[in-house]
């Protein structure tokens, strides 16, 4: 094991990040979301207090360690944890046409899905679900959340088209972001998340209905593989970002 796995890894990632079976009660990862779901409020409250204390500590200690105003990409990337997806190189453009690289996305927790604007199948359902999740989640992470849609159809989804799409869908640019990249960059990003897709016919692209939650540093915290999965689980995963041992 190269790096301690601090989060439940994406399922498809296989054994490299396979967490050794730990047979104690609390550390059992599978049970943790269940635990929250069942609302052991007392313990939760204790942890929240501890978290607050910790943040105070961090804030108190940190000023000396804060970095230069305009760090280079390499420096930014170097500061990311090893499990951050933002290590992936490549240039992207937003719906505003602004160029960015993935390390620029660090700083906000992020819900990520791969769609394309001409999609007539389940993409609208996914977008609706993302809206609902963002609306329902509460807490600091939820309020800071940015939902990100990566286009699987870079040929047709120009920044202009993406911007129009966001307007059509009523997606607020403060909390929503669309990304356009070269086909090969899109493939790499999708592959990293385990998203499968392929062109079907002349204009359709069949693709995974996957929703991924990244923390502020780009580490996968939760993945919902399909529309059969309970969206409440994603809501809870977002809220769990606020809990210290959920980080």
């Amino acid at each position: 094991m190269k790096v301690p796995a601090l989060s439940p890894p994406p399922r498809h990632d296989g054994p490299a990040r396979h967490v050794p079976v730990v047979r104690s009660t609390i550390v059992e990862r599978r049970g943790r979301l269940d635990y929250f779901a069942q609302g052991a409020r007392a313990a939760r409250a204790i942890r929240r207090k501890c978290h607050a204390t910790l943040i105070l500590l961090v804030v108190a200690v940190l000023p000396a360690a804060s970095w230069a105003a305009d760090p280079s990409q390499a420096e930014q990337a170097a500061a990311l944890p090893d499990l951050s997806l933002y290590h992936l190189e490549g240039e992207w453009r937003t719906q505003e046409g602004t160029k960015l690289e993935l390390p620029d996305l660090a700083g906000r927790p992020r819900l990520l899905s791969f769609v394309y604007t001409y999609c007539e199948h389940t993409c609208p359902t996914i977008v609706a679900r993302l809206k609902a999740i963002a609306d329902h989640a509460e807490g600091e992470s939820a309020s800071n959340l940015q939902v990100t849609l990566v286009s699987l159809d870079p040929g047709r989804d120009t920044p202009e088209r993406m911007k129009a799409y966001m307007a059509e869908q009523g997606l607020d640019a403060r909390d929503w972001l669309m990304l356009h990249g070269d086909p090969d960059e899109v493939l790499g990003f999708a592959a990293m998340l385990g998203v499968r897709y392929r062109p079907m016919g002349d204009s359709d692209i069949a693709h995974s209905n996957m929703i991924t939650l990244l923390d502020a540093e780009g580490v996968v915290r939760y993945q919902s593989k399909g529309l059969d999965d309970d969206p409440q689980a994603i809501v809870e995963a977002i809220e769990a970002l606020d809990d210290p041992d959920g980080a």
Partner: protein, 264 residues
């Protein structure tokens, strides 16, 4: 045979001034029948002419790359790009020593690492269709899919456990296009490995799972008894972009067009 004709065309396309690097073979254009066809899709897929490495990438080749770009060295690679098995077979071996494993195909590389290697060489990974098309050739035919002897030889390798020592890259048979080791050395990575819309449950994959996937339609195996193709398909759908597998290697490809423009 039209395949020969296609090869001739490829050579013609290369003719005027373009130089094929000696380590790559031109693969003629052609049509091949993929294992799965989606509803409404043509039975055959057209593959444009392209260039393919004559040999799989060896341990020595890859070791040289990791020295040029230490981000891909076994002790440096980030877990988002390769899992814990990455290059693990180098432990206790010298990947540069021809007496040791230098000339064996490199395996235990992730898709990300293979992609980075090809990019560093000005190449790319072959697409799934390109790989399958080039791999359909026997020694004397570009299209030996229906040849029982060819099928038997391919299956021979699939049926052999991977514990046998890998052959040196040059010690495998050369096919019609002048490419070695497509069958009988290792599985090989392709660029768009993630195009198989599988749920992990092969018996349900004739229909697109509409919970897991956005899209319409059903896929049907064109020839369900082509179990060599089934095995490749199943294998490709089993790994992720970070997986390292002892029997999985790769080689690189290049566009012909790109060659024409870069070799005046």
């Amino acid at each position: 045979m039209w395949g020969v004709f296609a090869a001739g065309l490829a050579a013609f396309a290369l003719g005027a001034g373009a130089v094929v690097p000696p380590d790559m073979a031109p693969i003629g254009a052609g049509d091949y029948t993929p294992l799965y066809k989606e509803e409404g899709e043509a039975r055959e897929v057209h593959v444009e002419a392209f260039l393919l490495d004559r040999l799989p990438v060896s341990n020595a080749d890859f070791a040289a790359f990791t020295r040029e770009d230490p981000r891909w060295a076994p002790d440096r690679v980030k877990p988002v790009f390769a899992d814990a098995g990455y290059l693990s077979h180098w432990q206790g071996h010298d990947p540069m020593n021809p007496e040791d494993i230098a000339n064996q195909p490199v395996t235990n590389v992730s898709w990300f690492a293979a992609r980075a290697y090809c990019r560093a060489r000005g190449k790319r990974l072959p697409s799934l269709d390109e790989w399958e098309w080039a791999a359909m050739a026997s020694e004397d035919s570009p299209r030996a899919g229906d040849d029982p002897a060819f099928q038997a030889r391919v299956l021979d390798w699939y049926g052999t456990p991977a514990f046998a020592r890998l052959p040196d890259v040059a010690d495998t048979w050369e096919n019609f296009w002048g490419v070695r080791g497509m069958h009988g050395a290792t599985w090989e990575l392709v660029n768009d490995f993630n195009t198989a819309l599988v749920s992990g449950e092969s018996r349900a994959d004739s229909e697109l799972d509409n919970s897991l996937f956005c899209g319409a339609g059903a896929a049907a195996a064109v020839d369900p008894s082509d179990y060599a193709a089934f095995m490749r398909y199943a294998f490709r759908s089993s790994y992720s972009a970070t997986s390292s597998i002892r029997s999985l290697g790769f080689r690189c490809a290049r566009d012909l067009v790109e060659l024409e423009t870069t070799n005046p």
